[in-house]
Amino acid sequence: MATVSTPTTSAATRPALPAVLRRPAARKLLALAVVAAVLVPLAHGHFGSGAWPHALTVDFSKPLADASDWVVDHRDTHPLFLYFFGHISNGVVLGVRAVYLALLALGWAGVTALGGLAAWRLGGVRLGLGTAAAFLACGALGMWVPTMQTLALMVVAVLASVAVGAVLGLGAGLSDRLDRALRPVLDTMQVLPAFAYLLPVVLVFGIGVPAAVLATVVYAAPPMARLTALGLRGADPEVLEAVESLGSTPRQRLLTARIPLARKELLLGLNQTIMMALSMAVIASVIGAGGLGDRVYQALASVDVGAALAAGIPIVLLAVVLDRVTGAAGRGAGDSDRPGAVGWPYALAAAAAVALAARLLGRLDWPSGWTLDIAAPVNRAVDWMTAHLYSGVPVVGGTADWAGHFTTWMLDPVRSGLQWLPWWSVLLIVAALAWLIGTWRTALTAVLAMAAIGALGVWQPALDTLSQVLAAVAVTLVLGVATGIAAARDARVDRVLRPVLDVFQTMPQFVYLIPVVALFGVGRAPAVAAAVVYALPAVVRITAQGLRQVDPAAMESARSLGATSRQQLWQVQLPLARRSLLLAVNQGVVLVLAVVIIGGLVGGGALGYDVAFGLAQGDLATGLVAGAAIVCLGLMLDRVTQPVERHAKKGA
């Protein structure tokens, strides 16, 4: 997840009175203790303590291996594939191909002109120039063709996600029952780490573009659905009443009033969907999506950070441009009588003229001499860094020593502690945490998710992954909240940080993997380091925003009472921003999990390695079980850290 939705509602809730807070919490814990007192002796007597009991596991490897064989053997003959999946697959291939051919036909000049002029119409001169510059930069980095491939893939994936999301959102917006039913589904879709569900799509569609597009749709459709529903529900009732009094049919009301009124939310949904889809571009390269992601992935294989960066930068540029352009379109949607709507035909004509001119001059391909080699200097910098930081730094020790200490003093104790805990006590802890922070429903989901992990027979590796997540989240929170506080209290820090955070948030995770290995060696430590880097921006942002939104009146009164700056922070700002801090924890956990799994590629082991193994060896039994366990782990972690009433905020 590259972009993180930050809360927009004011976090200025009243501080809860301790007495009120304590009573329901105590009641919940008491109830749980009673349940435990009855069930634990039973469970202990029946299955023993220690790791998850063997009697409660179900072995899926045989049926999964059979299913996998069946699909491969029947994929060319069975009607299900010939008449259903085959058409989906062909449709995707045709769609991507059509867009790709169109982009190639426009040529680099045409695409740059079209992008720049469209951005200019939607967001002004600066955005237009910026967009054109971004396209030129993609070409200058020698990535023109891969950029066009990724763009073609994105166009189709985003259109499909928007279609799926809009249909789901339309349903949820018009029917309360569907809304209730969809909400947990969408929640779950957003929590799932994408790496975990690549395998099933690959099995059905094979390696390549169709599988990549479908995996992207699963990942990117939820924000669209959520925001469509939100927009439809939020339509001004007075306007609707007025339209109704005119005697219009429900269909007319929908088309002429509710959808236009929800335009802002729809565009925001589009924006979020684009960002999510782009962040999938690289992960999908593991299953042969091609394009920029594939270049990053190939560069990784030859340990070439510079080349990975050269392919990563266009992804960042595309993300920034698309974010700004759709953002500008969303803002523009508010004022209907925007000047310059007449400019469109001119803009399009200009773009067409440029494309035609380039075509006549025979300059469709990016000129091969116009590339800038950034790989060599970047690699030199990385080499220098690792040569001087890896070990033997006086006093503080090298990064390898840190990694060793972190592994021995933090990861190992947490892992052995978790694995030492009796299985039922893990379930109890999960239940208690989830119930204290949410409702009995969240607690039940969390416990069932954890139990499912045990039933799948991957209890030990799952706890290994969990230990890495906990360690990474701890580091992320310490660093992230501290930075967030600094950013909230000092505008200069904030200004400096903003572009850095932008880059970290959109830079594909794979680009980090090699530098972290070079710095921290192979093992769990680099996985944790990469996860921290990736999750940090979201935590910093949410913390800073939460602190800034603290009611100025409260701050003012604290100041007038003579509170020092430190007292203001600890006794006013932080308690008042509690909700934002909880959201930061939640987002931190979800993002960390996503990267810790990819850490399987640098020696993180555990579930991440199993997923990678399943993908590499086509071993559905290993890969899918590990994927399912990751999904359960994600669900559990989300529920345990989920502040109540998050639904209204997330994605908005």
Binding site: G91, G206, G618
Partner: protein
Amino acid sequence: MRVRTTALVAVALSAVVAGVTTGCGAADMTKQASPFANAGGAKSVTLSVQSWVGAQSNVAVAQYILEHKLGYRVDTVQVDEVPAWDALSQGRVDALLEDWSHPEQEKRYVDDKKTVSYAGGLGVTGHIGWYVPTYLVKQHPDITDWRNLNKYASLFRTPESGGKGQIMDGSPAYVTHDKALVKNLKLNYQVVFAGSEAAQITQMRQFAKEKKPFLTYWYTPQWLFKKVPMTEVKLPPYKEGCDTDADKITCAYPHTPLRKFLNADFAKSGGEGAAFLKKFRWTTEDQNEVSLMIADQKLSPQEAAKKWVDGHESTWKRWLS
């Protein structure tokens, strides 16, 4: 408003087009070329690249010759071997240039379904084994026999190996029996998976820089030997069939002549490109030369291929005749 309607019309139109072109009759899952193939009327070939550098070298040189001598447009997709077989059978990629023996896939796709066809040897023989750096062998000459490994286990301890010695394995895509070997040979070692070849190489170079001891799963041909000289550890010798039961293995890895496979349709009707790929055959030294340029000197695969092609005209001329 106008823009929105035109966009809507465009979307609807493309949906209709997609529906008309795909909607009638059965879809053929064995003909699923990449959408980026044959773009703009150019003849094109899609090559699968595996994650190790040797495979990148094969592809780089093949790509260079296809593009510059035969006028093809080449697409490359990074896929591990097993999924590459599947992609070959569907036509998403046209060629797999370096296969390290996958009997199960071969039986399924070549013999039964006939969607993949054998395209001759690569000319390179692969061998997997356990390796220690040569500087370590100078200090402990008897370390190269598996029987002595337990004596040295403490040398190889790392934070990840849990008190035992660490043997580092690489990418999950690789053929490995190391877990079974460690268990069956009663070695006091822990297999630690680096998770990718990139991570493994990075770690080995860091170790070598400080002359630290390490024991690793590794293979030839490999360019890294030129940078980090390593010596193979003798395991109980390989005999035909000693690796059939993966859980009971106690023998070394075999020497495997590496082979090429093409999509069956492409092999039949792929014209010059397919004929060239069938003839493509070079030596271990050739491959290492290109690999070293890519991985160590950090040339782009295309630059490395150009350098090699410029210097070895007699070799590649044979592939085109």
